[in-house]
Homo-oligomer: 149 residues x 2
DNA sequence: CGTGTAAGGAATTCTGACACG
DNA sequence: CGTGTAAGGAATTCTGACACG
């Protein structure tokens, strides 16, 4: 039932390695290509200058930033204001990732039953216990187990 | 401190809407473009035929599948075997998403302190309590609060 | 079977300019 | 300021064929 590569969880999810062309960023966010180019020229977003190619590539993090700036624009901010707001705080994705990195100790999936369990590490109110999230029949619930020394 | 759009958490993360060109899929996964085209021709993966364009576009779900097939190939499976294995079970991403959808009730981020809290809903061992994950000074810990009726 | 490559055409993206406001 | 568009060239992707094994 234990899955050997559960520890590679984050590495197995090609999110950090994702790079997208401008057309795909535009399609995903609803922001036009000319807007994206202009925002980049003003320094509100950045493209990955690394690679060999000549065409722009954007990281997934930048896609999220574009999405966020657009949200503020739709709320009535000017572009300058929207860009400033988007810089003001980390977004949900960053927070979720920090939660993963901080608390996901292990994840196991049973290949047949699709039963899954996530080890969230020590349960602070009860030291000595580990918090486990378990999926049974498509329903998630929490339980405590004795932490292994 | 409460964030009004926390309920749109998943919708705000343009992962489901992501579509990538073949070059970006190849770059993200380390699988060559000719491999990707061949795998598609054999029906192991699919491209999004929806849009107007003529060039292939792949969903993020398909990127994960490509990644998974590659992992099995690297382990020594034949392509047919790797494709079959990749179909055998849902991947980590699916499991994580099901965890989110099943248990993430709310998420709040304080714009200034970057303190964050995630409401994970009723804590099964103690009905009447809600499980909260809280980030303070970049460290996540769990606590229980009285569930609101 | 499974992948790579050369070839010529098609689709996408590039820049710099100009328009509108 | 902020975005859109037409224009011509550059970079990317397309298909069908062929090679290798």
């Amino acid at each position: 039932m234990m899955d050997e590569d559960a520890s590679n969880l984050l590495k197995k999810m090609p999110i950090e390695n994702l790079i997208l062309g401008i057309g795909d960023v535009a399609a995903a966010t609803g922001v036009s290509q000319s807007q994206i180019r202009y925002w980049e020229s003003k320094g509100y977003i950045h493209s990955e200058a690394s690679n060999d190619g000549k065409n722009r590539k954007f990281s997934y993090k930048t896609v999220l930033k574009v999405q966020q700036i657009k949200t503020y624009l739709d709320d009535g901010y000017t572009l300058v204001g929207a860009a400033k707001q988007s810089q003001r705080r980390s977004n949900y994705f960053d927070t979720l990732r920090s939660f993963f990195e901080g608390r996901f100790v292990n994840m196991a999936i049973d290949p047949d039953s699709q039963q899954a369990s996530i080890d969230l590490g020590p349960f602070d109110p009860e030291p000595g216990k580990s918090l486990i999230a378990e999926r049974i029949d498509d329903h998630w619930h929490f339980k405590l187990i004795d932490a292994k020394n």
